[in-house]
Assembly symmetry: C2
C-alpha cells in the first residue's frame, strides 16, 4: 500500500527535480510556533530554518555549529536558533520563509529552488559539472556568487556560498549493472538533474525522503538509490540490502550548499555583524567540507572491510552514456530563459578553464600518485 | 660575481630545506621599529609578521584581508597590523618573534621551521603526500592540528591551519627533459623536501629568493626553477626565458599555510575574540585557496595562448623516479626522532585512507569527465 502510494506519487509528479534531498529530510509534523524575537539590550534573535532533520550528520550539525559560532563571535548579540526541517516551516518552504521574513536565515542547497528558476541549479550541482574546489573558485572569484546574488535579489534574499559535500558516490544497486540496457526500467531513487539524466536513459526515477529509502530498497520497490557518500550512506545502512556500490558519481560532483539571509534583516545589521556572519559561513565551507572528506575516507574503509560491500566502477560505456544525456539535460535547462542562459554560459566557460587547470594540477597529481603508490 | 656568490652560497649551505619560499620573499632591509601597542578603551594592537613581501599576490594580500577582517569583526577592538617580511623582523625569524612575544601573530608556512623539528614539514607539504582537500581533512578532523598544537606548545605558540595553494606546478625548464639522466648535474631551484628529492637524483639544487630567480634563469646560472603555479609564475615572467613548463608538481601537492599566535596573548583573549580569529583564518582557508584555483586557471590559459608556453608532462619514468626518491627522503625525515615518527605514521595512515576515497571520489570523477569531455 505504502509502496504503491509513493511510487504512484513519484510517477505522477515525475522527479521533483532538486527537491529530493529536501523531501528526504523533511519531517511531516506540523510547524511549531516560533518564539517571538526578543529585542532587548541590542540582542537580535535570528531564526535559521534548515532543510535537514535535527543534527543530521554534517549538514544539520554544521548548521548548529554555524549558529553557535555567530552567537559567540557577536558576544551573544546575535542569538541564532536553528530549526530543523518542519519545526518552523516545512523544509521546502525555507526559501519562502526567508523571503517573506518569517525566518531571518536559512541553511540548505540552492537546487531545491529550481522551481522558481532553473538557474538555481548552477549554484549547487550540475551533472558532469565542476568539483568542489572548481565550484568554490567560480562562486567566490568568478561570477558565480554575483549572479546568484542578482537572482536572489528578486526575492529579497541575500545568498552566501556554504560548504560542499564533495563528489558524491554513484549509488547502491541490488544487482550488478552489465550494460546500458540495465538502466531501462530500473527503479532508481535520484534527485535533481541527475535523475533527469537517468530518466533519459530509460530508468523509472523516483524521489523518496531519506527515511523511506531503506525500507523501499529492502522491499524491492526500488532497485537502487543514491544518497550522498560513504559517511552519510553508512549511517543509513544501505549496505545491508544492496551490496553493489558504484562510483564515480557523475550527477553531483560537488553539491555546494547555501545560507540565505533576508535582505532587510541583512541591511539592518552593522558592518561588524555582517562580517561575522559572512566569515562564519566561509569558515564552515572549509570545516564541513573537510568533515565530509575525512569521515567518508573512514566510512569507505568500514563499508568494504567490515560490511563486505562490493565496489564497482561504472563502465566506460555507462559514463559515456551518462555524459551524453547530462549534456543534453543541462543544455535544455540552461537555455530555458535569458537569465538562466547567462548563468549557464558563465558556468560552462569557467568549467572549461577549471578543467584545463585541474588536469595539470589536482588530477595530474592524483593520477601520478596512483600510478606510483605501490612501488 | 653576483651569480657566483649565490651559487657558492647555495653549494655551501646545500638546500636550506623549507626555507626557500621564505628567503624568496624576504627583503634585505633592516627591520623598522614597531609602533608601541596602544591599550586604551580595550583596544588591542596585534602585530602580524609575515614571511611575504608587501601585498605579494594571494599570500601577502590574504594576510591583509585576514587582518582587516579580524579588525572589522571585533568592531575595531583587535587592531591587526601586517608587517611584510623584513619590516619588523626578517621573514625567517617570524616564528621566533611570535614565540618570544615580539609579535602576537605570524602568517607563513610551517615547513620554514623544520630546522626546529622535521615534524613541521607534515603540516605544510610532503612530496607525493596529500592534496589540499585531503590535508585539510587530516588537519581539522584527523590528528594533524592536534599534533601541530602539541609541537608548537614547546615554543609557547598556538598554531592554526591556513589556506593551501593547491597542487603546485612541476616547474620551468630551458630545455626539454628527455630522461632521468637529464637531472644529473641540472642546476635547479627547488626548496624543501622536493629539493632533497632532486638532489638524490643528481641535480645541483639551489635556493634563491624570488626576485633573484628570473635574472638567474635568464643568465643561464640555473637551468630551471619551480615557484608556485600558473598565477604566481606568470607574475614573475619565467615564460620569457624558459619555455618548457612541466606538470604535475610531485613536490608540493598542497602547501597548506599557517597562522601562529603567541600562547600568552591567545590565553588572554576573550572567548569572543578567540572565535573571531579562528573563524577568520578558517574563512581564509576557503577564500585564498579558491583564489589560487580561479586565477591559476586563467593564468594557465594566458601562458599557453598568449605567451606560447610549451606544456610538458613529466614522463612516467620521471614520476616513478621522483616517487622512489621522495619515499626515501620522507621516510628518513619521518624517522629522525620519536615525535616526528608519531606525526609521520599518523600522516601516512591518513594519507592511505584519503587516497582510497579520492580515487573513487574526486579523482574518479575528474578522470571520467576528462574521458568524456570531447564527446
Amino acid at each position: 500500500m505504502k509502496r504503491r502510494k509513493f511510487l504512484s506519487g513519484a510517477a505522477a509528479g515525475g522527479v521533483v527535480a532538486g527537491a529530493a534531498l529536501l523531501a528526504s529530510c523533511g519531517k511531516e509534523e506540523a510547524p511549531k510556533q516560533a518564539a517571538a524575537p526578543a529585542i532587548s539590550e541590542g540582542i537580535k534573535e535570528l531564526k535559521m530554518v534548515t532543510t535537514w532533520p535535527k543534527n543530521f550528520p554534517g549538514l544539520g550539525t554544521g548548521a548548529e555549529r554555524l549558529a553557535q559560532r555567530i552567537t559567540t563571535m557577536s558576544d551573544g548579540k546575535l542569538q541564532v536558533k536553528v530549526y530543523a526541517g518542519g519545526e518552523l516551516v516545512p523544509p521546502f518552504q525555507s526559501f519562502d520563509a526567508v523571503s517573506e521574513g518569517k525566518a531571518e536565515l536559512s541553511h540548505g542547497v540552492s537546487y531545491y529552488w529550481q522551481g522558481k528558476s532553473p538557474a538555481f541549479n548552477f549554484f549547487a550541482a550540475v551533472p558532469y559539472g565542476m568539483n568542489a574546489a572548481e565550484h568554490y573558485a567560480w562562486m567566490l572569484w568568478g561570477d558565480g556568487l554575483k549572479l546568484y546574488t542578482e537572482l536572489c535579489d528578486n526575492f529579497g534574499v541575500v545568498p552566501f556560498m556554504r560548504a560542499s559535500t564533495g563528489v558524491q558516490m554513484g549509488g547502491w544497486y541490488r544487482k550488478e549493472m552489465k550494460s546500458m540496457d540495465d538502466f531501462k526500467g530500473l527503479k532508481f531513487r535520484m534527485p535533481g538533474l541527475g535523475g533527469e539524466v537517468l530518466r533519459k536513459l530509460g530508468a523509472t526515477v523516483v524521489n523518496l525522503p531519506g527515511g523511506e529509502i531503506f525500507p523501499a530498497l529492502q522491499a524491492g520497490t526500488i532497485d537502487g538509490t543514491e544518497w550522498v557518500g560513504p559517511w552519510n550512506d553508512l549511517a543509513f545502512g544501505f549496505y545491508k540490502v544492496a551490496k553493489f556500490y558504484y562510483w564515480p558519481g557523475f550527477h553531483e560532483p560537488n553539491t555546494t550548499g547555501e545560507v540565505l539571509v533576508n535582505k532587510k534583516v541583512w541591511s539592518g545589521l552593522s558592518k561588524q555583524h555582517q562580517e561575522i556572519i559572512a566569515a562564519a559561513i566561509q569558515a564552515e565551507s572549509t570545516i564541513e567540507k573537510a568533515e565530509f572528506d575525512y569521515k567518508s575516507a573512514d566510512a569507505l574503509d568500514a563499508l568494504i572491510n567490515k560490511h563486505g560491500v562490493q565496489l564497482r566502477q561504472y563502465s566506460d560505456e555507462m559514463m559515456r552514456g551518462f555524459y551524453q544525456a547530462a549534456a543534453e539535460v543541462v543544455a535544455e535547462i540552461g537555455n530555458k530563459d535569458p537569465f538562466t542562459k547567462k548563468v549557464y554560459d558563465n558556468f560552462m566557460a569557467a568549467r572549461a578553464r577549471a578543467i584545463g587547470w585541474s588536469k595539470l594540477g589536482e588530477q595530474g597529481f592524483m593520477n601520478a600518485r596512483s600510478a606510483n603508490f605501490k612501488t
